[in-house]
Symmetry: C2
DNA sequence: TGACAAATAAGAGTAAATCCTAAATAGTAG
DNA sequence: CTACTATTTAGGATTTACTCTTATTTGTCA
């Protein structure tokens, strides 16, 4: 079990960036400084930021970036598998650049999304019947409730 | 295993309604005919309707009901745990009256949300550590991929 | 280096959800 | 039954989270 915190080293960040630029090229996507900046900001944090939150961060480095670009880019990242949209309920989309298997707990009050990793949950098996009918790309256990700070 | 379809009998619907009125009273909420009507319509279907869709259905019985009331009521249902919100991919919120414990599979192409129920998934256990730190209200296994129609 | 297609910025546009008001209505407790 | 208070209705205003359009810029590749 491991709840919350997890950081990325500068070395890992660079490694991820290299992997990401490769992935872009592979898919015929241009490697623009905006894309890199957005990807790096996303991967740096484990806060599952919204497009809005990321936009603010990226603006510190890239003052003229538009929210639209951030939004579009995040959807692109989701399409190519460099990030994904956290399953959630209703509000603004939340993104996750994390590639390790992990689960999410979402606080229904503050909307915070907290990572956790629990070995048995990483190993759940998709039933045969589902595999036959659908292509299952991602699986995760999703918990909702009230977090430590809100209760 | 059970994918997709599932209906509710008139008897079960009534049982749920009784449970729901009890829950309302417990929470000091008035048992209004609108609330009941909305709840019953939601529980009857497994289509994960939006507020708009539900409003139309309820209007067949209750022609003067306002969309605002439907919206407000659905959020109330969510608050007291009589329903919950499923991710609507940025579009309109979709609601689920949670007939039985079940899981969701979401198609990344057509955005369709498909219910399924798989005994082992219903019985997953939340780790002690999580229970101590958070109040866990809901747990589910969430799968994403490509559905039978899209692939 | 230059052409071209892709990507971006800026700003307008949109749809859903939420909030506001005020007046009418209707559960609920005493 | 009555008083109290929650809830509903209606219609407009506001907010949120995108989404589109158009002109401009910029990676990429020959």
């Amino acid at each position: 079990m491991n709840i919350g915190e997890s950081t990325i080293s500068a070395a890992d960040l660079d490694k991820k960036t290299v992997w990401f630029t490769g992935l872009c090229r592979e898919r015929g996507l241009k490697v623009t400084p905006q894309r890199i900046a957005i990807y790096r900001e996303l991967v740096k944090t484990n806060e599952h930021p919204s497009a809005e939150m990321l936009c603010e961060k990226v603006r510190q480095v890239f003052p003229s970036i538009s929210l639209d670009t951030v939004n579009r880019t995040l959807l692109t990242l989701n399409d190519i598998g460099a990030a994904f949209i956290v399953e959630g309920s209703g509000d603004a989309k939340r993104f996750d650049g994390g590639l390790d298997e992990h689960q999410h707990f979402k606080c229904v009050k503050c909307k915070r999304v907290i990572d956790f990793s629990h070995e048995p949950f990483n190993n759940i098996e998709v039933p045969q019947e589902m595999e036959e009918m659908f292509v299952v790309l991602r699986k995760s256990v999703y918990l909702e409730g009230i977090c430590d700070l809100c209760r």
